[in-house]
Each structure stands twice: as structure tokens, then as C-alpha cells.
Assembly symmetry: C2
Homo-oligomer: 317 residues x 2
């Protein structure tokens, strides 16, 4: 889920150019909905913020109740091997959160303390582990799905934390955020159908919450020159759609959900097959729970008790 719109730069009241999100961010911090940690894109969230995120999570489950989907939850870190094999290392290296640790002795430890005290680089004293922060909530699922799928494919719902290294003061661009996905694994037609079904449902659910939404063809921010071709291809084949909503005084379009047709991108490396022996296709629809929470706070104000009755009934039936 990404938003490639160009930020408009306004003049703040003190004459210094102001990011378009500054007033909204200031409000979130003043109301205590977000708690700053000192790292851009990393926040504590208040009980009120979380009550909206939790309500959204439960709404997603109600909306998907007819899907006979199995449920699985993964921790926020996943195997590096998955990251390497599913092509993420190749396409989005700059967004990674690789997990490193310390395996030295007391002498190395003393040097580590000295370097951090002196503000010197500690990187070379730390070693890689076999883990990486999970970049998309459905990624840990595919390696566990190897083998032959049942007739009609499989549907799985997954909820959890994702990490993308893209520090920003824009509250919509958190580095650690939550995504609630409905994943399909099966035939090419099934994958397209799943994507279309959920894109429609997503628009319905989100407009039912009083958000002005539209679906637009999109692309992921692939790395480097070869990435530009991959991005163009993704757009041409309409493999990725985002549901966007206008935020800030600039009406900047921000993605709050997205759908992806992966073709055989995951089926192939992880040996997922249809009953007739073809490589499985997969697709997923992801509700961006933190971005939706922020969009609701932006649209309806910082106090959910005062939100329109129709919106409250959807979230807290």
C-alpha cells in the first residue's frame, strides 16, 4: 500500500514551508491519539485510537464471515529466507528491516558500548540473524501453503504488523503499521475474482464509514532502473489497485487499502499447486487498519464518541 502522489508544499504561518500533514499531525499529538517516540513514523497510540483500530479489525472479520477463510497470525518478524525467495529483496531492498544481533564476547561488548557512547557506527559489531521485519502481512503465509490446494482453492485471513523503512513525519506513513488481509490461493480466474470481489467490498465498507473513496490502478515502488519496468508492467496489467481517500487541506490522495494479483509470484517459489497440477495463482486484499483509523480521525474528528451515528453503528454494532 503506497501513495506516490507528490506532496504539495504550503507556507506555514511562520513563513517556513509546512508539510501538508502538519496541522493534522499536530492535532493527533495534541489530543494524545499518537504519542511521539522520537523516531519519525514510530508512535505510541492511545486507547481511543486503538478502540477504532480494533473496531475496524472486527468489522473486517464480519465483512469476510461468508468466505470460509481460515485464520492465521504471524509475529512481526519473519524468516529472511522468505524475504529472499519471494523477490522482496530484489524489488524493495531499501524498505527492509533486517534483524541483526550481538554474538561477541565481553571485550566486543565493551567496544560496542564505547562506540555507541562516542556516536560511532556499531553496525560492524553486530551480526545478521535469519530474520527480517515482515514487510507485508501475507508474506509469511505463502511458504506454509506449499503442496496441492483443495478444489476451489483456499482463503485465509491474516492480520498483523508490517514494517517498511520509510521514515516520514506524515502520520499516514508509519514505519510499523497493521494490515488485515484476505488472501486467495487457487486458479488464475479464482484469483482475479477474489480481487474484484474484495475491491468492491472494500469500497462499500469504507464508503459506509463516511469516507470519500475511489479505486485507482497503482504500482509498488520497485527499486532502481529495472524496477521502473516492473512498475510499468504492474500498471499495464492492472495487477494492483488501491483504494484512496483525499486527506489534508490539499485533498492529497492517500491509499488506505489495496488489492494485488500476484499471478504465480508466490505459487512458484513455494510450490503451491492447484489440483490439476498447475502452479497456483494468488491474490490478496488488504485493509490498511492504521491508515483507515487515521482517515476516520481526519474525516470525523478526534473524538469517536461524536462521530455520525451511521459510522458508529458500522464500527460498534
Amino acid at each position: 500500500m503506497t501513495d506516490r502522489s507528490t506532496a504539495t508544499v504550503d507556507q506555514g504561518s511562520n513563513g517556513v514551508p509546512e508539510d501538508p500533514w502538519t496541522p493534522f499531525r499536530d492535532q493527533l499529538l495534541a489530543e494524545g491519539l499518537l504519542v511521539p517516540t522520537g523516531v519519525d513514523g514510530l508512535y505510541g497510540r492511545s486507547g481511543t485510537y486503538e478502540s477504532v483500530a480494533d473496531a475496524m479489525d472486527r468489522l473486517v472479520l464480519r465483512v469476510g464471515a461468508d468466505q470460509a477463510a481460515s485464520s492465521v497470525r504471524f509475529p512481526p518478524v519473519m524468516p529472511w529466507a522468505t524475504f529472499e525467495r519471494n523477490g522482496y529483496l530484489e524489488s524493495f531492498p531499501d524498505q527492509m528491516g533486517s534483524v541483526h544481533t550481538f554474538r561477541g564476547d565481553e571485550r566486543d561488548h565493551a567496544e560496542l558500548l564505547r562506540r555507541t557512547e562516542a556516536g560511532e557506527d556499531r553496525g560492524t559489531l553486530l551480526e545478521t540473524t535469519d530474520m527480517v521485519l515482515c514487510p507485508a502481512v501475507c508474506h509469511p503465509l505463502y511458504p506454509t501453503m506449499g503442496g496441492v490446494l483443495p478444489d476451489g482453492g483456499r482463503r485465509v485471513e491474516v492480520y498483523g504488523y508490517c514494517f517498511r523503512h520509510e521514515p516520514s513525519t506524515d502520520p499516514f506513513r508509519m514505519q510499523a503499521f497493521r494490515q488485515h488481509d484476505y488472501v486467495y490461493l487457487g486458479t488464475p480466474d479464482g484469483a482475479r475474482h477474489h480481487r474484484d470481489l474484495w475491491l468492491e467490498r472494500g469500497l462499500e465498507v469504507l464508503s459506509g464509514l463516511g469516507l470519500e473513496v475511489a479505486s485507482v490502478v497503482a504500482n509498488d515502488p520497485f527499486f532502481g532502473r529495472p524496477g521502473r519496468m516492473l512498475a510499468a508492467n504492474q500498471r499495464n496489467e492492472e495487477l494492483k489497485y488501491e483504494i484512496v481517500t483525499p486527506v489534508y487541506a490539499t485533498q492529497r490522495q492517500t491509499a488506505i487499502s489495496s488489492s494485488n494479483c500476484h499471478l504465480d509470484h508466490f505459487g512458484s517459489p513455494f510450490g503451491i499447486e492447484t489440483p490439476d497440477g498447475e502452479v497456483a495463482h494468488t491474490s490478496c486484499f488488504g485493509f490498511g487498519v492504521d491508515r483507515i483509523t487515521l482517515a476516520l480521525l481526519h474525516r470525523h474528528g478526534p473524538d469517536p464518541d461524536g462521530w455520525p451515528a451511521g459510522v458508529r453503528t458500522q464500527l460498534w454494532p
Copy 2:
């Protein structure tokens, strides 16, 4: 929350020494409660497993409803600065999950891909960020609490993911796990009282779930030779208690909750003060939600529908 008991090594049926947790782990995997990821201590969890963890989370909230605690949730990564300033880097460097990323160009990227393909070390091509995986759920809280506390101190409940780099096949020793804490910030007496109160409540809640529990003085696994002194001191001053329960055929004692008196360990570096200008003391009690879930599955069997009515009523009132 740590368990320093020595594992007893049994002979498995095939004559190969078997870890005491192997039969339980095999059962969890066979029932699909845990889904292996290929990395020790990192699992997907089924809907059934999560229904117990969620019920435990809600039970903890009901038990603490009289505490007038505020709520905050932090993401699974926190600022490196917090990690450095709160002494964790000094005391537990070997458990860290430091977050590194890629900031190179296309040429570096090609080399990164070549090295991973060849199985060579990628570490030197990645750079440190200002983040680390959160080692204890209450750690991100303290830097946000700087300033003067109200009379009577503050109580905060925090729930979320922790990470400790200690790969193990013992399901009770996950690398990424969830902890639900009640934290107190205020006077030294208040901190002791909070600890005592919650240790008692914890024992009551957990024995009410049919678990055989006891509280024992404990210590954290401090690093290196100086660490041995710190650990001895922590025990002598009875700063840490764990609630333990016997698991496996060996009746091995495993910690499923813990309480800590931090003295001024967090108050001092983060400038937290009592109204009379003293450095605040803090204490916390943490329910180890994943370990409790596992202990319940171990004690009552893999199907929560079949658990004793009294246990079910506590979890799903």
C-alpha cells in the same frame, strides 16, 4: 520473563536424546495450533490459539479495571536511543534485534543479491537504523513519561510484541511473543505496593485458570561477568519475581508471568519525577500472554471447547 531451569535430556523412542518439550511441540504442530516457519522460536498461530490469547488479553483488562490505568500500545520496534539509555544494551546485548536496512545504489544492490545467492554474509552491505526490536513491552513507555507525575503516581497498561534473540525449539521460548503489562510510576512505596498487589492478582488469575502456579524470586539473564553480580543483586533484593508453572513430563518450571521493581532505573534516565521532586520509582507486572496460552493448552489439552467449564467461564464470561 525468563526461565533458567536446566533442561533434562531424555532418550527419545529412537534412541536419540529428546528435548523434554518435543512431545508437546509435536502435538501443537500436529493440531495446527502453531505453524512452523523454518526459524526456531518463530511460528504462525491458528485461529484457535489466538482465541485463547485474545481471551487472556481481555481477562487481564477485566482484572485491572479498578486500576484507572491509561492505555497505550507501541509498535514492535522502538527507538535505539531508548534501548541505549535504559541500560538494555549494557545488560542484555545478546538478546537484541537491531534493525538494519539497505541504503546503497544499484551496484550495491547487485552485490547484495550476489552475496545472498552465494550464501555469503550480507551484513556489511546493510546499515544501522535508529530502531531496535522492542525487548519488553513497557520499555517504550518510560521515555514518554518524562516530567512530574501526579499525586498517587500513574498506572498504565501496555500490550504488545517483544523480541528476544534466543532461538530454541522449546515452544515456550518464542523469539517474538506478547506481554500484557500493568506499569506503575511514582514513589518507592507505591512501586512495591503495585508489585505486591499484582503478584497476588496474577497468582489468583492464573490458578483460577486451573494452572498450578507459584511465585519465585528470579533474576534476569544479565550478560557477562559483571552481569553475574547484577543478577545476584537482583535476587538478594528480591526485585524480580516470576510466576512459574510445571510443564512437560519433567515438571520443568516455566515462567508465565513476572513482576519487576525497577527502583529508579527508568525514572532517572528519562527524567520522571514525583510531585516532591524525587526521581520516580517504577514497577511492572507482565502477563506472558503467549506462555500462558501455551500453559493452558499444555494443561487442558489442544481443544479449548473441551476445557473445564470453570476455566472457560473465566476466559469467555
